[in-house]
Amino acid sequence: MREFSYARARDVDAAVSLVADNPGARYLGGGTNLVDLMKLGIERPELLVDVTGLPLDEVVDDGGRLRIGALVRNSDLAAHPLVRERYPVLSQAVLNGASGQLRNVATTGGNLVQRTRCGYFTDPTMPCNKRMPGSGCPAIEGEHHNLAILGASDHCVATHPSDLAVALSALDARVGVQDLAGPHELPLEDLYRPVGDRPDLELTVRDGALLTGVSLPPLPAGTRTGYRKVRERASYAFAIGAVAAVLVVADGMVSDVRIALGAVASHPWRARIAERELRGGPATAEAFEAAAVAELDAARPLRDNAYKVPLTRDLVVAVLTELAR
């Protein structure tokens, strides 16, 4: 592990001024991913700026929008009464991730920008285009049974490991960011870059920008939400398939639906095609399946992850059917 300096930020402006434009600096939140990567030599920062003292740790109702500070711990987020009451899908997703100990430490903001767990990325003795641009992607021909089927490229097939982000995507979350130009907001979906030929570039925001929080629009009355995750062991494992869904059914017809898929792409995959197919149509298992199939038409599975296509399809059907009941 490289020796590094450590600083505690007084306020958001000071934190941003220390990290922005300094490629050797990283923000330290819960550290549950960053510190692991530092031990492995994947991240080698010169400076850690600890932001956990910043006042970004509250969940507040802001005229109907729910604002969640970037430093709200996963456990606190999942247990928050407003989250449980208004967005049960978010609480469910968080509780499906990691372990109790990790959730007590990990933060909302850190969760969104955590790195892939692809085994080639996390082993510095292996090639990896995400870690070492141009070195190649051994996963495409190698061990990829839990890697991407959607939106990947010839350069990288990594998946984003978050559960929380999948729920946020289905809830149309917006992300608050501050950089040297000041604070601004963007849709969560726009936070992640397409993989393309530069998988090392994961985010659209400027280097050194600080995630300050996320906000959620209110859901109309009668909305039902749900999250379901499939993993290889019953607890403490990353998803091999995950679906977050928001559904409004009136008179047997879908009046609104939002679906996000986990474990299939380099970021939470918003199933816009399926949503379009469903909106205004009948809320039946047949329709759900047809929509899922349409979404997954773009899937390009690899040798050992083709099982994810029927798995994800069946999960979409199961979750929507349950919500429509």
């Binding site: 607890s235 798995l311 069946d314």
Partner: protein, 701 residues
């Protein structure tokens, strides 16, 4: 001196662990906890190619890094004796035998600096073409001289081919088990310190005495120079067995080089290539039976892999030599040496993968014959070991099967598959038999009566966390006829003399023999009025002759496992709400710790069935999922209700303690019982482990 004889025996009572308080309060010191003045740290520089030569190491650059004291490499490492153990011939030449093998060791003042310098050490290689791809039809497969630990490679009785050709019912199937890593909670660590012309090695090993002996030979030391101390162990499952693992030799080498105490602790990813794993196996099982399911022929052939360093052949098919009666019986093994890390022992080596093959095939035979799987096994029970013809010292498999069926509620089971849909789940049940050898090895123990009225037992035993120290305390107390509170058992120190390690489920049987005998002798001497000198009165017993004088019998523990599973109809998730295990393991010294060991074995069996798989990328010759996030070991949430029971199993042909050992039998057959239950639930046979959702869903569609 007055002695208080206690009538009530301790054996058979659920005494809690005698070192339990030390462990939960942190007072117990594990290998990497020992504080020593002047301690420095060694860090392995691993090979990043699977085969070839090291042509250069930039030692000067590494020596210039902060905190670095020395670098061990082939040009400055001590010359080692050839003790026939390739994994310990460290830095003796420039060959790379597998990815992850040590090519140098960086020694620095802190572990962080040692690690940083090791990871930044530049090594130039001359790679050579390699082969790390295990296949059942690999052209390099050959028949070794013996299989582990010292079993015949092949047995052949009768005429298997003719019997199968004439059999009314034939099952002929292939089964696969993956590479698996033991993944004890405590990683390997070794600290070597020289003082007064002796070297003491604090390390986490199951075999303190054996490791001391082998390192003495390896380093060409005078007998008695090496002391190995291993007081507390955080699990091993064979991974800390004999021979010594590389961390032990590296620590001794480094401490010798720098003249200071050196600690080498391995990270989780470093354990994967360096400390051993269960080989993948490919098995073919052929069964021939009459219409009632009585076996006329049984053939079990197994293939496995080893490294270029050591020929290590998993004894996969020996399970079939002792389990079910068959007049025509053939078992055989082949192995292929690849450019891979060296496989080693993992809980029930041989029996664990082998029982998956045979007990799965027996279920397929039950289906083919239309005979209940429990009844099928009862029909093929025997009182003589099928391969050798030797009588069993005791064999209560039938009692285990019947008692297991009763406890589990097997009676009335509808044998048809895929008939029980319960909401989103298919439900099913399955079962398997189990056995594990009940061996005993020579050991020496000492027991000392003190003037305080207390007794001290010394034996180079190991407590892996199993309760071995507690069981020995109970055996000694009863042999002395004193309360357990007056007996202190000291273990984990090679200076206590020759002792078998904690392996092969042989610990309590082997250590208990001299402990009980020495205690009887001491009690007799005290009772006959022998004076008690100030330093205490000591009796010593070496069981070598007594063990060798036993009758030639087939000695095994037996068991039966029953499983209920639920398989999600759309996602293929497999859940195991219930497991029952019933065992005939001789005398149960401590029902509390015995039950815990069997719960652990069953849980590990469940984990093998559904989760565990070390994924080799043959292009690189390394395991990709070398951490506990990606290598899935069962969590609490994976484990449902576990039911453990014993049947009475008196056996006077074992050892003075009457124990058969139960560290491993809990895992044997569990994967087959679960796979058989998955078939019963879904109608799809699972002939390859682990049965993850991907496999369950793919095979179902």
């Amino acid at each position: 001196m007055t002695r208080t004889w206690q009538a009530a025996p301790s054996v058979g009572h659920p005494l809690t662990r005698v070192e339990g308080l030390d462990k939960v309060t942190g007072r117990a010191r594990y290998a990497a906890d020992i504080a020593l003045p002047g301690l420095v740290y060694g860090w392995v520089v691993p090979a990043t190619i699977p085969r070839g030569r090291v042509i250069g190491i930039d030692v000067a650059a590494t020596l210039a890094m902060p905190g670095v004291l020395a670098v061990l490499h082939p040009h400055n490492a001590p010359r080692l004796a050839d003790i026939g153990e390739g994994t310990l011939a460290l830095f003796q030449n420039d060959r790379v035998a597998h990815r992850g093998a040590p090519v140098a060791l960086v020694i620095a003042d802190t572990p962080e600096r040692a690690r940083e310098a090791a990871e930044r050490t530049a090594v130039d290689y001359l790679p050579e073409p390699h082969d790390a791809d295990f296949r059942p039809d690999h052209p390099g497969l050959y028949t070794p001289d013996h299989v582990n630990p010292n079993n015949a490679t092949t047995t052949d009785k009768g005429d298997v081919d003719a019997a199968i050709a004439g059999a009314a019912v034939v099952v002929d199937r292939e089964y696969r088990t993956p590479a698996q890593h033991n993944n004890a909670m405590e990683p390997h660590s070794a600290t070597a310190v020289w003082a007064d012309d002796r070297v003491t090695l604090y390390t986490s090993t199951q075999y303190a005495y054996t490791v001391a002996q082998s390192l003495t030979r390896l380093f060409g030391l005078a007998p008695g120079t090496m002391r190995v101390v291993s007081e507390h162990i955080g699990g091993g499952f064979g991974n800390k067995g004999a021979p010594a693992r590389p961390d032990a030799a590296l620590a001794v080498m480094a401490a010798t080089l720098v003249g200071r105490p050196v600690r080498v602790t391995l990270t989780r990813p470093q354990l994967y290539p360096l400390t051993g794993y269960r080989t993948p196996t490919a098995q073919r099982v052929r069964l021939g039976a009459d219409e009632d399911g009585r076996l006329v022929a049984l053939e079990h052939r197994a293939a496995s892999q080893t490294s270029r360093l050591v020929e290590f052949t998993e004894q996969t098919a020996i399970y079939s030599r002792a389990m079910y009666a068959a007049d025509n019986l053939r078992t055989s093994h082949r192995v292929v040496a690849l450019d891979v890390p060296t496989p080693r022992w993992m809980r029930a080596p041989g029996e664990a993968p082998g029982s998956f093959g045979l007990e799965s095939a027996m279920d397929e035979l039950a289906e083919a014959c239309g005979v209940d799987p429990v009844e099928l096994r009862l029909r093929n029970d025997t009182q003589a070991e099928p391969a050798s013809g030797l009588p069993f010292s005791s064999r209560r498999l039938a009692e285990c099967l019947r008692e297991g069926a009763r406890r589990f509620g097997w009676a009335g089971r509808d044998p048809r598959p895929a008939g029980r849909r319960d909401g989103r789940w298919w439900r099913g049940t399955g079962m398997a038999g189990a056995h594990y050898p009940a061996r005993t090895a020579p050991t020496t123990a000492h027991v000392t009566a003190l003037r305080s009225g207390d007794y001290v037992v010394r034996v180079a035993a190991t407590d892996l966390g199993t309760g071995a120290r507690t069981a020995l305390t109970q055996l000694a107390a009863d042999a002395l006829e004193v309360p357990v509170t007056t007996v202190r058992v000291l273990i984990g120190d090679s200076d206590f003399g020759p002792a078998h390690g904690a392996g092969g489920s042989m610990g309590t049987a082997s250590w208990g023999w001299p402990v009980v005998t020495a205690c009887h002798d001491l009690a007799h001497r005290l009772a006959s009025g022998e004076p008690l000198p100030p330093e205490g009165l000591t009796s010593t017993f070496d069981s070598t002759d007594a063990v060798g004088a036993r009758r030639d019998l087939s000695r095994y523990a037996f068991g039966a496992h029953f499983a209920e599973v639920a398989v999600d109809v759309s996602t293929g998730e497999v859940r195991v709400p219930r497991l029952t295990g019933v065992y005939a393991v001789g005398r149960v010294v401590n029902p509390l710790t015995a039950r815990s060991q069997l719960l652990g074995g069953m849980t590990m069996g469940l984990s093998c069935a559904l989760l565990e798989e070390s994924m080799m990328d043959a292009r690189f010759g390394g395991f990709v999922n070398h951490n506990l996030a990606d290598y899935h070991v069962a969590t609490n949430a994976d484990v449902g209700e576990l039911d453990v029971a014993f049947v009475d199993d008196p056996d006077d042909e074992l050892n003075p303690s009457g124990v058969k050992g139960l560290g491993e039998i809990g895992i044997v057959g569990v994967p087959a019982a679960i796979a058989n239950a998955v078939w019963h639930a879904t109608g799809v046979r699972q002939r390859e482990l682990p049965i993850g959702p991907a496999r369950a869903i793919t095979s179902g569609q």
